[in-house]
Symmetry: C2
Subunit: 201 residues, 2 copies
């Protein structure tokens, strides 16, 4: 039957007929991984993730950075900052990270991700051997002093609810793969430490 | 101030400090693109998309295939097959495709995507210069005759609502970039035609 032509493609060739994560990793020359940055607003997650991506790219790694800029205005533009929506926000980010890892990429995520349960969900979904939790532990004091986006001031003035660290909780990671406080470590050293962690495997 | 160390990374280096789509494309040696397969259940979208990925991978392209297997059970596992949920299903797929294209990948999507408005939304979001709509126009008759997943039979027996082509509409593309009917074209020729389309640019 002529109209079965399309299906027969699965039998006529002898090479691999489905491209797997392993195939993509072989082509890229490295593994797909997820490096999950967590910490307060203004702690330095995006800056650090961005600097890490620059360095990985320089080393020829295939990378992507998921952050508020490309997620909140796109995929998750239907979500708010309530607890329920924050859980869904992180769930989707974890799922997209997993897909991108499956595509052979080293994925960095830079979101507050304040709830321990959500981060554990992400780790479980992605697989603990693929998942690196980077806790950017810069103190609330320092974050609020800097207040890059003016969010802490807004929250203090009662114009912003659900501000993590002020009127919404941040659950400190119990066993992060690495902890970095920007008051105690230079960016260069931070990147070096993360690199040695993720390339040690 | 020591705790500003992290931020200073944006100034101390002279090389590019943010990795862009263009940087990733340069590293990959090709453009990021989205090849969007649409058509009835059983038309051959997944088979064709899969065969295309195999060929692109063989040519050294960085690829990913989004389909029901990796989307419905993951990112979109909270969605049903109602009209509202189908719109949201396609919206998320379009957003993830866009992110993956931004990551420098050639992305194939294999979903019925029955509504014209949704596919236009996807095209607009992704950018018409990046977006190829492949209409797999295998007739309902042929799809139902094959009925690989047994869905048509289930729908005919009243066990399945929202079956595209039977009790839910399929809006035929008006100007697809390419149209392929598996009753009229072999898989090999179909792939050749798609390849020449997406590499013509």
């Amino acid at each position: 039957m002529v109209h079965h032509g399309l299906w027969r493609v699965q039998n006529v060739h002898t090479q691999a007929l489905t491209i797997t994560r392993q195939d993509r990793e072989r082509l890229n020359g490295h593994h797909g991984r997820v490096i999950w940055f967590t910490g307060l607003s203004g702690a330095g997650k995006s800056t650090l993730a961005n600097a890490l991506e620059v360095e990985l790219h320089r080393l020829g790694r295939r990378t992507y950075l998921l952050d508020g800029d490309n997620i909140r205005q796109g995929l998750n533009n239907d979500l708010d900052f309530t607890d329920v929506d924050r859980v869904e926000n992180i769930r989707r980010i974890a799922e997209v990270s997993k897909l991108m890892m499956d595509a052979g990429l080293m994925v960095m995520t830079a979101f507050i991700s304040p709830f321990r349960g959500d981060r554990e969900m992400a780790r479980e979904l992605i697989g603990t051997e693929n998942f690196f939790e980077v806790y950017v532990s810069t103190s609330l004091e320092v974050c609020e002093q800097r207040d890059v986006k003016g969010l802490y001031k807004k929250a203090r003035n009662g114009l912003l609810t659900n501000m993590t660290g002020l009127n919404s909780p941040y659950e400190v990671p119990e066993r992060p793969d690495i902890e970095l406080d920007c008051a105690n470590v230079t960016a260069g050293l931070a990147i070096t430490r993360i690199l040695s962690l993720i390339t040690a495997q």
